[in-house]
Amino acid sequence: AQSVSQHNHHVILSEAASLELGCNYSYGGTVNLFWYVQYPGQHLQLLLKYFSGDPLVKGIKGFEAEFIKSKFSFNLRKPSVQWSDTAEYFCAVSGNSGNTPLVFGKGTRLSVIA
């Protein structure tokens, strides 16, 4: 069965600091990988996704993530965070088939302080 592990429960950073949120997955086939973000009081929304090709994917708001197949990882990065990045971030994995559901990690809460 597929599973996702997010290493950090709560991360606190100052503005302009660099961010890296860890995500490791377990799945025995071709994967699709996702990062979702939930800003306070808002819907969950897609930040970025990987399904094939270049393992370094770029998403909205300056975020990027790198798929390292040998490490089963899909870490999220941003070189310089802003106060508006305060949110909860969820990593998710699914199989390549359209009918396989997404399995999410437990989420990482990011707090950016001035």
Binding site: Q6, L44, F51, S94, G98, N99, L102, K106
Partner: protein, 115 residues
């Protein structure tokens, strides 16, 4: 464009009472539909998913059930609520985008408090 609606947005129910949360999707046909529960510190837990009318897969044995009476309608139910059913319930749909990736789109959620 596709939209997803969930209601009610908030609900306070006594223990032992029934539950019905409804989710509908517009602007797409034959979507895959999902119910997740979000609890603090536990992330998003997949409860049920459906790939078609009357087809329900249950991921976690529990006090809840799901039904899909129509193509774009997904209902989460319980006959008798437990305190542990409190949480934030999210409906989502998945369709095949032009990019070839399967992307989940979430509704606004329903917050259930069982007292």
């Amino acid at each position: 464009s596709q939209t997803i609606h969930q209601w009610p947005a908030t609900l306070v129910q006594p223990v032992g009472s029934p539950l019905s949360l409804e989710c509908t999707v517009e602007g797409t046909s034959n979507p895959n539909l999902y119910w997740y529960r979000q609890a603090a510190g536990r992330g998003l837990q997949l409860l049920f998913y459906s790939v078609g009318i009357g087809q329900i897969s249950s991921e976690v044995p529990q006090n809840l059930s799901a039904s899909r009476p129509q193509d774009r309608q997904f209902i989460l139910s319980s006959k008798k609520l437990l305190l542990s059913d409190s949480g934030f319930y999210l409906c989502a749909w998945k369709g095949i985008r032009a990019s070839g990736a399967n992307v989940l789109t979430f509704g606004a959620g329903s917050r259930l408090t069982v007292l």
